[in-house]
Symmetry: D2
Subunit: 328 residues, 4 copies
């Protein structure tokens, strides 16, 4: 299976490396607005550089990995869909829900294969947790609790064009909640503020937020986000059910603990998302390749991307209007 | 210091035992509508049985412990306040906020010493957590997360007269949130449903709930409750701040872990509230006695009782009206 | 059941308090060479002071708790046995194995009830571990591993008359090993040195030691001791068997953990033996009282005391002679 | 840097894969007595098959990885040393100490670069533990405790030619002890028996063993081994020192824990040594390549291999003779 990679930044490199490491896959062409970046990834993966047009027009290319900025995603999905390429696209499809819906209409008409990069579903810990819940390890699901805190906030310049905490950061947690709940939330309430960095507040965004949601059948979920955690990249999920509780704890660099007069000290949790989710990115790419090779539609798909965005939008509106909001 | 105990049920026995175990205290008189229960506690604490009138009228009695049903609390506080007794009263003061306010008016006029039995503040784990937060161990507080799940739901007959989950169960968590936040919540959003037992839903109550709150300065709190947890009485608090995070984990019967072909198995968490909070009840009584002996006003006091009830009321209204509610 | 307490130091006070707290027991008489100490414990337990002769001669006294210095134990056991008192005696019976054997001969002739104070058997964690092993939770036992480290070394003056690390400190671990193994060790090898405090070495003793033992059927045990642990009183047991492994971990003051830029920090383990083994001392006394009331012989008994001393002696000889030694 | 790999079994494949994955290294030639196995690894690493003579005679080959059976190691090291190849050889150099010494004489004369595959030194957890100890995190080292249990015993046919538990299995722990102690043990006492499988005993070996050792300065070490652990591949190290204690705990597949009516259950520890030590094998190869490229002598070297074998031999003799033995 031959890939074209569009966008060779941090995440493009990850996917490029994972593709190149598979015996049955190959990075054929890579494109980037920065020629040097494209060259570097091409060299590292034994690929060639190309324009986006060349990638989409090449009969060599079976699949594209869209790793370019968010505002290009919807266009590229549509173009790749029309070019009959299998599509792996980083989240989100777009910051605007209308644009997402228009894009998914094209996907539907072309019957394109689209997978959206919610990598956390493929983390071995969260994947195992979801599987155990789905298999009934804790009986009927009742409460999902997600804690998600970045090690440190992005620059305010990034914040300004990110769509804000709910659409940029918590969208991962909305997808995780849906992944585990197995049922759509019908109401969202959000609260939040800028406690980490006042400049974030001045830019019209928040850096600390809590959200609660409920489904039609009465299941509830809670999400807590912060843009900063001094002890590492805090990523935890807990699910309570009729027969018990399951949680996936954080991941540390080593299992070493040092005891002394000041107590027992364990390592911080893994700080960097590429390290924390290294296996997740690899498993995610594997899932995409395996689905395409089997002629199946991979998940999370475009609809999953839409639903997560609808929840992010509802949370944003709830925070703005101080009302409980139904996603739509 | 000589006590009169009003109400000799489960909680009256706990306080009676703790009073009798102190060298500087004595249970002098005990009253209960069930003479046999009163006799039993009197025998166990070397006290005498008496009527409530006798207790309140006795010059021997310095302090009363009000351990009778909730609907008697406000009246007894008022009568004891007028009788110039130091007052320890189980939570809540009343299910009706107006009644609480009227009662506190009497407390104010009589300058009575009143402590309300939010025992969890005195649990060694939660007390240590609060102290560390207050002393700056994690810098400026940002997010408080409270998980509180009973081992199993009470009978529906109890539910019906309890005031419901928010006023009966989550009130402890509202007090805990206030204890740690050090600032009053100004908005409450609640969601919940009857997932554990349909009969609870039919009685107009819920058994599963999540709540988020925010303070004027933007601090946020989240609470999650269930009336049932198969793995024991789940009582956890986590606080996130500018410099780190602190949490108080559950308490187990032993530190034993058994490993085998099915994994590593640790004990359930302590199942019974009297066992889980044994030290908390003892420390709570100590705090009351020490404050009274020092001529100080103990905390949590009547105002703390009122504030927790206002939050419970707001959560109840939020759940009923599907609106965000400001406590008042 | 009425007790006479001989010796009102730290350990006498513990037992006195536990006796006084039982509704079915009473401290009747207390004796100490220091009249003020005797007075203090008598006051705290509503008892009277007396001479040892008076205690042993009193028809009021059913049982004696021997809490005096080690070199008085054997004599007092013999006298109390002849006086037909039930006997609870702190470990060890004597530092000299011959003296122990002579003492046990008197116990045998008088058919006296004797329990030796190996308190750790009654710690809830170790008791639960032993029970699970005995009930087959890990199948056939293969390896017992005991880690036992004091928070800080005793004064060298104490060391000098203590009998040394093996007889004074590790004797607890020999008893624990026997308790769990359910079979007598037939060979002991010891190594050790004075690493904590050179003065201990100059006094002819060691402060750091490791021992291995094996039973006739080939089960093995290992013990590690240090007179100093900066992180608290380190007390752990692990057992490996055909079907798995079980361990009892240390006990901490709180369940609080603080995370920050330097990692995740939990509390030190409980530092003080009276606090660490508070429940063990209470359960131990209960076991003695319950056995005496039921007309049964409590364990650990005099033979258990002898066997532990034989292992301590073997370990001492192994260390001295650099040979493997068979206890005898 | 171009490698020849001699032996393409399980461990040869691991090293081959790690070599091929480095951008600066290449597997040039592979040899095995089984041509199909050689072909398979050659195909997977883009190498060619060859005879051992061809590998050692090829001017293309800079380094050899000796992954063939133990009884070929010493000969191959000598031949490779004379052929001026850098040498990575799996442990042990030989089962016979005399043969090891003769081999190391050749290494010395040829000034060959030899690294012995004690992979556990390169496990991120144990490497971090050793580094922290060496950097003084716990002050002066006093006690090293190593627990090492295989998930299940090898076939008795393997046992018979393995050299026995001490030379085949515990040799890893002797190397680990030396790695951490930083000082040679001068005395060894061993006990052990065949508890897991009687057939192992009938073959003249044991499957359960404990060893203690001491160094000249009085540091002590204890090792416990079993050929079977139902809960996974149990690999732990703990070190006690003047200022504290450090331990490296086991590694699990996920961080998931499931709580229910039977307690809290975590995953077994990683069961398979290639999975448990995946990073260790990679880091080990990196260390070898980096040392060779820098013109440095890597560790663990031939002398380390000899010293570990001397300890294994001493332990074997101690077990056989029931004496404490000085390694030599």
């Amino acid at each position: 299976m031959k890939f074209g990679i569009i966008g060779t930044g941090r995440i493009g490199k990850i996917h490029g490396g994972n593709i190149a490491a598979r015996l049955d896959c190959q990075v054929a062409l890579v494109a980037d607005t920065d020629p040097a970046a494209a060259e570097a990834l091409a060299a590292a993966t034994r690929a060639k550089t190309a324009s986006i047009d060349q990638i989409l027009g090449s009969s060599q290319v079976d699949a594209v990995a869209i790793c370019s900025p968010t505002d290009t995603h919807a266009d590229l999905i549509e173009r790749a869909a029309r070019a009959k390429k299998a599509i792996f696209c980083e989240k989100p499809i777009d910051l605007d829900v209308k644009r997402i819906r228009a894009c998914l209409e094209v996907v539907k008409q072309t019957n394109a294969t689209v997978m959206i990069g919610f990598n956390r579903r493929f983390d071995p810990n969260f994947a195992s947790l979801q599987k155990r819940v789905a298999e009934g390890a804790i009986g009927a699901l009742e409460i999902v609790s997600i804690t998600s805190r970045d090690p440190s906030p992005p620059p305010v310049s990034y914040i300004a064009r990110s769509g804000g905490l709910f659409r940029d950061m918590m969208i991962h947690d909305f997808d995780m909640a849906r992944f585990i709940l197995g049922e759509e939330p019908v109401a969202v309430s959000a609260m939040g503020s800028a406690l980490v960095d006042k400049a974030i507040g001045e830019a019209g965004d928040i850096d600390t937020a809590v959200v609660i949601m409920e489904t039609k059948s009465g299941k509830v979920a809670q999400i807590s986000n912060s843009r900063r955690a001094t002890y590492g990249y805090d990523q935890r999920v807990e699910v309570h059910g009729a027969n018990g509780m399951v949680h996936a704890a954080n991941v540390r660099e080593t299992t070493v603990e040092v005891a002394g007069a000041h107590g027992f000290v364990r390592d911080k949790v893994l700080n960097f998302f590429l390290e924390r989710y290294e296996a997740a990115y690899r498993n995610e790419l594997d899932a995409f390749v395996n689905a395409v090779k089997a002629g199946e539609k991979p998940r999370p798909d475009g609809e999953d991307g839409l639903e997560a965005s609808l929840l992010a939008e509802a949370a944003y509106q709830s925070w703005k209007t101080k009302q409980r909001v139904a996603p739509d």
